[in-house]
Every structure is written in structure tokens, then in C-alpha cells.
């Protein structure tokens, strides 16, 4: 009798345990996903952006080299995630533009990519997954800023990811950290837009209506 009771309890316990385990698994999986995304959300759900102050830039290209040393994938010879361009003007008259991916609000690369290699994070960072990339080059035509570039070595596209893993660890993007003049900074787009004199394009650059880029430029003149 006692034995029977015991076994009944244990059977019930086993059932309970089963239900509990199932419930824990059922709840736990989404929970763990939630906590994971909560970590990523620490940076906020607002679009991040670069701010480039043309008045402060001296064209030292430290942002370019910092990008290269921080990111293995950006070390390919043909590839330059961040580029410092100059207008060829003489000293004093010359000005520069430091440009990488603008992590656009309407990223054309993400829209056209046939293999969904691009994803846009909650903080607006557009990340390219090289594992999925087939190297069709469609995004290179779609992006007006030439951010996606084809690596001749891997025959895959590669692109600036705003140093999201550094950001997730609380660090600054490598290019921003390297800038000695604080000409290149970053933050929430809505905040950066308040910068006096800030614009979304320069003469000769693509119209911001194409992709709605997340960057602010303070022009020299």
C-alpha cells in the first residue's frame, strides 16, 4: 500500500517535473532571447549615426588606419571601410570628408540583397553577414555611397559595421576613438541632428532622399 502510494507520488512528481521542464524550456528559450536582446538594447533602440565636422578635420587619416587595425575584414587591399577624401585644394583651402557606411534608415543594400546577408539592428546599425554573401555585387550598385565593397580575396562583399561588437562592450567605434581633433564623433541621430550647421549631404554627393542616410556633416563653408 505504502509502496503503491509512493510510486503514485513519484509518478505524479515525474509528471509534474515533466510539465515544469517543458514549461521552463518553453518560457526559458524566449526569456533567454529577451535577455540577449536586452543586452543589445543597452545602446538604445534609436538610430545611431556618425557626425563629421569638416571644420575640425585635418586629413590625418588616423580614422582610416584605426578602422583597418580594429577590423580583420577591412584589411583587404582593395577594401576601405572608411575613406578620407579630399577636394585637392591647397593648404588652408582644402577640405576633407571622412566617409564609411551611413547605416541608412532605408538601406538600399538590405532591400536589394537576394540572400538577406544584411540586417538592421535595433540601434540602426546595418550589418553584413559575409557567410551568406554570394558576391553578386547588386548592393554595390544600389548603395550611392559605395560602402559595400567586393574583396578580391574572398569574392564576397564587406562593409563597415560601426564596430558594433566594440559598442556592445561599451567601447567607441575605432575610427571615432582615433580622431585626434574630435572631427568624427557618433551618437543618436536625433541628438546629432541638433548640431548647428549640420546637413545630410554635400555638393556633388548623392541626394539623401535615395536611402535616408544616418549621418550629419558640418560643412566647412
Amino acid at each position: 500500500m505504502f509502496k503503491k502510494f509512493d510510486s503514485r507520488i513519484s509518478r505524479r512528481d515525474a509528471l509534474k517535473l515533466g510539465v515544469l521542464v517543458t514549461a521552463a524550456l518553453g518560457m526559458g528559450l524566449p526569456l533567454s532571447l529577451l535577455t540577449k536582446s536586452a543586452v543589445a538594447q543597452d545602446l538604445g533602440t534609436e538610430q545611431l549615426a556618425f557626425l563629421f565636422d569638416q571644420k575640425k578635420c585635418i586629413g590625418c587619416k588616423l580614422c582610416e588606419s584605426a578602422c583597418r587595425s580594429a577590423n580583420q575584414e577591412a584589411r583587404d587591399e582593395q577594401v576601405k571601410w572608411r575613406r578620407v577624401l579630399d577636394n585637392g585644394g591647397d593648404e588652408g583651402e582644402g577640405h576633407f570628408l571622412s566617409i564609411s557606411c551611413n547605416h541608412c534608415a532605408d538601406p538600399a543594400c538590405l532591400t536589394v540583397c537576394p540572400v538577406t546577408a544584411y540586417t538592421k539592428r535595433q540601434d540602426g546599425i546595418v550589418v553584413h553577414n559575409a557567410e551568406k554573401c554570394v558576391g553578386c555585387g547588386y548592393c554595390m550598385y544600389a548603395c550611392p555611397y559605395h560602402a559595400p565593397q567586393l574583396s578580391k580575396k574572398t569574392k564576397r562583399v564587406t562593409k563597415c559595421h560601426f564596430c558594433y561588437s566594440r559598442q556592445d562592450q561599451g567601447q567607441q567605434p575605432a575610427c571615432v576613438e582615433a580622431c585626434p581633433k574630435k572631427a568624427l564623433t557618433y551618437g543618436k541621430l536625433s541628438e546629432l541632428k541638433k548640431a548647428p550647421g549640420g546637413v545630410a549631404t554635400l555638393k556633388g554627393l548623392p541626394s539623401p532622399t535615395i536611402t535616408n542616410p544616418s549621418w550629419v556633416i558640418i560643412p566647412k563653408e
Binding site: 577624401l85 540572400v115 547588386y138 544600389a142 550611392p144 559605395h146 548623392p206
Partner: protein, 321 residues
Amino acid sequence: MELHWHWLVVIYLFLGGLGAGAYITSFLAEKGFLGKAPSLTRAGYFIATPAVAIGTLMLVFDLGQGFWKPWLMIGLLSNFTSVMSWGVYILSAFILAGFLKCYFAFKNKKAPELLTWAGAFLALCTAAYTGFLISVIKAIPFWNSNIIPVLFVVSALSTGLSATSLLAPLLEKGTYHEGRANQLHLLLVVVEIIVAASFIMVMLNGSNGPIGTESAKLLISGKYQIVFWGLFIVLGLVLPAFIYLQQILSQIKKTGDIPQNITANDVGSAVLAEAAASSKIYGAHSPLMIIGDTGVIIGGFALRMLIVFAALPVWDGFSIY
């Protein structure tokens, strides 16, 4: 910045259009829209699938990873906002439908109506897709025009009709019947001239910005002027237009009416009559028509080449002012 679509993509866009147009040619002939033209009812089906399949293969070779990591190709179906993904669905379905239709045509069996119509619909989608693929790219002003898909569809039908007309006499025994094919072809070529002219005008007048104008100038007076005027306009459009017109006029002269069903002996000059007489088993195609059809095909290829090669990005990626 270097963009990397070159010859393989040109061939892909060209063969995609030609294959789709060939299917539609035989479809129209089969349904009686080309008058009594029994010689055109099968040849197009034989061209369609191989042309589109070879074109697709070109694209796979062009992908940096296509040849080395074929399993990544599955991913091509994953983005529903990407016109290239639509293309993979359309092309796969068309290659399959075209292959089945080709089998029935080869066996001289009646194919299910649903298959025949589905193939025709997919052929139209294929032809239009090659245009939409590039017309949605806003960063290339020369491509970002609704005229591109129209131009590509008309050119697809025209090159497909030419390829079918060239193959048919080699394939079909008995007398070669042209039916209303010449009239359709004249119409297509004239429409293509109008559409191409509108496209160049729109680009030149700066509606798509200064870079679009720059691209158009590469065609009419720049680097590609010989290909544009020589191969596309003269050889591919104007000369064929005169040839098809001459053929129609001589048909009318012979019969006193617009012909529904005429033999090769009725068509064209004495040269043609001779050619027809010399090939009793197989049908004949007038030498003039061979020149016209070949011209259309070369012109169609030149068009794809011009559109792909003259694509200048809205910003070069270097210049600031």
C-alpha cells in the same frame, strides 16, 4: 569605385530576353496570332529553355561564390524585397515550364493548355524582370527609369522572334510560311525605335539628373557611339525596319492584299525564289531576312551591353568639392 558587372551579366540579360521572346513567338504562332505560320510554332520552344538556362548559368558563374559554394544559392530565394530574388523564382519556373513545353513540342504532342499559358506568362515575367532588375537601382540614374523594362520587353520579343525565324527554316520540313510575322516584327522594331528615342531624350534632358545625361552622352557621342549608332540603331533597328517593310510591301504586291498564308516563292525577290527552289526539303529564309534577323539579334545584344556598360553611379565615391 569599380563596379563589377561585365560581359557575363550582359549575356545573361540578353539571353533571358531572347529566350522569353522566342517562347512568346511560338506561343503567338501556335495560338494563330501570326496568321497561318506553322513553321514558327515549335522553333521558339526549342530556343527558350536553353537560352534562359545558359544565361542563368552565366549569372551563377558571375557570382563570386556561385561556382565554389553552390549551397549558398538556396539563400537567393530568401529576400522578398529583392528583385534578384524574384528573378530566381521567375527564371526557375520559366526554365521548368519551358522545358516541359519543349518536350511536348519535340514529340509533336499537344501540351496541357495550362502549361502553355503558364509558360507564356512566365516568359513575359522573365523579359520584364531583366529590366526591373536594374530599373529599381536608384543610385544608377541611367537605370532608374520605368522606360527600361518597356525597352527590354520590346527588345526581348523582337530578338526572340528573330531567333525563332532564323531557326525555323532549318528545322521544319516543307514550305516556309511567314504569315504575319513580318508585320509583327516591323511593329516591334518601330515601337523599339520610339521607346529607345524617348529613353535617350529623357536621359539627355536631365530628368534623371546630370549623371543620367552623362551616361546618355557616352552612347550618342562618347566612348560607345560606334556600338550605339552602328550596331544598335542602324544594324539593329533601322535596317531591319526597312527590310521588314520591303518584305510586307512585296507580299502585298504579289497578292494584292495583306497575306495570311504565303509560301516562300511569293515572298520577296527572284533571289529568294531561287533559294527556295534550291532547298526543296527544308523551307527557305530570304537572304535579306537573314540579314534583318541577324541585325536585330546583334542590336539586342548591343542594347544590353550599352545599358550595363554606360551605368555611371550617382556619385563616383571619390570626388568632393
